[in-house]
């Protein structure tokens, strides 16, 4: 019955790992048309489903067994929750008569995931199951998307209920608001017309809602500069002359200065995260703020908002961009254009033997023309990717923004490639992060998923090391790897292609070779381990207080 519900919901692929308490579901998967991807760890499954969902816009579906199977999903569920990724997770549970007895492989996964799911269910009654499944997909994919978990006891799975999937849905406590309030929209139109120094700050919501054309139309017609948060990258083409780069802790001068000087910020699908605002009371002191978001909770959570608009971004932006009259922003644009919109980069090395990490990312960008799907792990390489890869298309940047999960990138890249096989998919990883889900090399090889992994290998936990250098008197406590594995040989042992690169003049050729390979490729770029991510705003500082190198700490 569960599989029939999947079919009804258009699910063609699930990611998972079997075990005792979910055997019945796996038995029906055995001869089902639904394709199941067997990862090598439950965490791999949930991140792969996450990557699949981010790229396809469809819900990621995960199956795992009870107890450790379920708890291994926790990081991935929290990750999806923080980044508003639609996901339906089915976990097996011990039979209903054993629940609460500390039975073998029992864990209270609905209790554990309460704070990290949009909603969850313990389906004790098979008659309730069709409704629960229907509601789960509805809740996961509407409003502000998020993961929904269904815990399914083994005896409930075993019951064959007459299949009756509900067509209608009625959840008394769940009615997301889609249309923006017309009064507030009118106020916003007026504010935009009167603004002399407007900035659009767009985030993950733009990508999720599909409102990128509307965003582009609004920016272009209003001549309003645009900055994209980490989650928003790709939501507006980096090549557009109005694009300022990313704001915040590792943002560009143009984005941060513009926000601090603006008289109007049009915040679209963002949540004013501390990594974006820096010191909160110093953020954008002169700006009126229009905040458009599907989730009313985000409005006024971190920052006081002048014009709140709750609704689906695509719809609200449509309503806005059709009617607003542009103000005069010519002078403002002249000013903004004097600030750096890009982060400095020396594309060529001083010494061929020293590869700078940014140069590798720059090469990948040049070769793919900003058109590839890029998944990343978390840390320095993630920030360099955000700074130096010029994303042109929405849903092409797959990265753990909210939770900051190391080990996310590689399995997420596998999911992304399965969702969009026609696209080139890179995983830009760190040597620390990659080792956190390295077992998924088996999955990549077994299914022949041709993801190109570029390990930015600096033999240390670069971001930790950077903070220790800048703020902890260079006391590098447990952040350097004195021993690191030979990733190329590991790749070969798994059956993938591996390449090790330690000279700059090999970088370009290696990337090109990797792209021509039919299967998965691991490129181990040995880069300068002393390189830091700049610009940087120290924590709890105003975001125009940018350090351009470490000299001013």
């Amino acid at each position: 019955m569960i599989l029939k519900a999947f079919q009804e919901e258009g699910v063609t692929r699930v990611f998972g790992y079997p075990g005792g308490a979910i055997l019945n579901l796996y038995d029906s998967l055995y001869d089902s048309s639904i394709c199941h991807v067997l990862t090598r760890h439950e965490q791999g499954a949930v991140h792969a489903a996450d990557g699949y969902a981010r790229v396809s816009g469809k819900p990621g579906v995960v199956t795992a067994t009870s107890g450790p199977g379920a708890t291994n999903l926790v990081t991935g569920i929290a990750n999806a929750y923080m980044d508003s990724v639609p996901m339906v997770v089915i976990t097996g549970q011990v039979p209903t008569f054993l629940i609460g007895t500390d039975a073998f492989q029992e864990a209270d996964i609905t209790g554990i995931t309460l704070p990290i799911t949009k909603h969850n269910y313990l389906a004790k009654d098979v008659e309730e199951l069709p409704r629960i499944l229907k509601e789960a997909f509805h809740i996961a994919t509407t409003g502000r998307c998020g993961p929904v978990l269904i815990d399914l006891p083994k005896d409930v799975q075993a019951l064959e209920e007459k299949y009756n999937y509900p067509q209608e849905i009625d959840i008394a406590g769940y009615k997301p608001n889609v249309e923006g309030h017309p009064g507030q929209v009118n106020r916003a139109i007026k504010a935009i017309k009167n603004a002399k120094k407007p900035v659009i700050m767009a985030g993950g919501g733009v990508v999720r809602s599909g409102g990128y054309h509307e965003l582009q139309e609004m920016a272009t017609r209003g001549n309003i500069p645009v900055t994209l948060t980490l989650m928003g990258l790709g939501g507006f083409p980096a090549s557009n002359h109005l694009y300022l780069g990313m704001p915040g802790m590792h943002g560009t001068r143009a984005a941060n200065y513009a926000l601090m000087e603006a008289d109007l910020i049009i915040a679209v699908g963002v949540r004013f995260d501390d990594r974006v605002t820096g010191k909160l009371d110093a953020f954008a002191p002169r700006a009126k703020i229009i905040h458009i978001d599907i989730d009313p909770v985000e409005i006024g959570k971190n920052i006081a908002v002048d014009i709140p608009i709750v609704g689906d971004l695509k719809r609200v932006l449509q309503a806005l961009s059709r009617r607003f009259q542009p103000g005069d922003t010519a002078e403002w644009l002249d000013k903004v254009n004097q600030w750096d919109k890009k982060v400095d980069l020396n594309p060529e090395p001083v010494d061929n033997k020293v590869i700078k990490p940014q140069q590798v990312i720059n090469k990948i960008n040049e070769i793919t023309g900003g058109e590839a799907i890029i998944a990343t792990d978390v840390g320095q390489h993630q920030m360099w990717t955000a700074q130096h890869y010029r994303f042109e298309k929405p849903r092409s940047f797959v990265s753990s923004g909210g939770l900051g999960t190391m080990g996310f990138g590689f399995p997420a890249a596998l999911g992304a490639k399965l969702a969009r096989p026609e696209e080139t998919v890179f995983c830009i990883a760190g040597d620390g992060s990659f080792q956190m889900n390295i077992q998924e090399l088996s999955t990549a090889v077994y299914y022949g998923i041709p993801v190109k992994v570029a390990i930015i290998n600096n033999s240390c936990l670069g971001m930790v090391r950077q903070w220790q250098e800048l703020f902890y008197n260079r006391r590098y406590s447990y952040s350097t790897f004195e021993y690191g594995p030979d990733f190329a040989r590991i790749a070969e042992a798994f059956g993938a292609k591996g390449m090790k690169v330690d000279q700059f003049d090999q970088v370009e050729e290696t990337i090109k070779t990797a792209m021509q390979e039919e299967g998965p490729v691991i490129m181990d770029f040995r880069v300068d381990s002393t390189e830091n991510v700049f610009p940087m705003v120290a924590p709890n500082q105003p975001i125009n207080n940018l350090m351009m190198d470490g000299s001013d700490v």
């Binding site: 609905t110 209790g111 309460l114 704070p115 949009k118 909603h119 313990l122 809740i139 959840i171 008394a172 406590g173 769940y174 989730d295 009313p296 909770v297 006024g300 959570k301």
Partner: protein, 164 residues
């Protein structure tokens, strides 16, 4: 200032822990919470008293609204409403004090519901102020134990507290 929220919820397993968990993990201060059935089967009513300023209260309400099992929230702090709480107090009472204590109880329209050789259990209902007042008076004799239900509230007149 204390704020009173009337919250209609689906009577589903775990709904109380969803609500309580939300308060603890978002760092909201919950003063009291009382839950009971309503006239409609499957729907329960929570009366939640919180001590929060307005911006935080707005977050509390929005976050609660986000819970799927929460159907409706009304802030009835400003509405003309009756609110009551029931308190049981076990007070130290030697035979020679019983008369005095009984007088206090009657003044507050309470009831003595149990008497033992050296203690009495008193039941009293009312608003915060009244309960605090009797508590203060009885402290003189020695309070052994207190149990309170948490506040419940209802809007006066024909309007429904939860607004439906």
């Amino acid at each position: 200032m204390k704020k009173i929220l009337a919250v209609l919820v689906e009577d589903k397993p775990g709904v109380l822990s969803r609500v309580a968990g939300l308060f603890s993990r978002r760092g909201f201060n919950i003063d009291s919470i009382a839950v009971g059935e309503t006239t409609e089967p499957g729907i329960s009513r929570m009366t939640i008293t919180v001590e929060e300023d307005s911006p935080t209260l707005e977050q509390v309400v929005k976050q609660l609204n986000k819970l799927i099992n929460v159907i409706k929230i009304s802030n009835i702090t400003e509405d003309p409403a009756v609110s009551r709480e029931l308190m049981l107090i076990k007070v130290q009472a030697e035979p020679q004090n019983r008369g005095e204590i009984q007088q206090i109880v009657e003044t507050f329209r309470g009831k003595t519901v149990d008497v033992s050789p050296d203690s009495m259990v008193i039941e009293v209902t009312g608003d915060d102020e009244k309960l605090e007042a009797i508590k203060l008076l009885l402290q003189y004799y020695g309070i052994k134990e207190i149990v309170r239900t948490g506040k419940i509230a209802m809007v006066r007149g024909s309007k429904n507290s939860a607004g439906n």
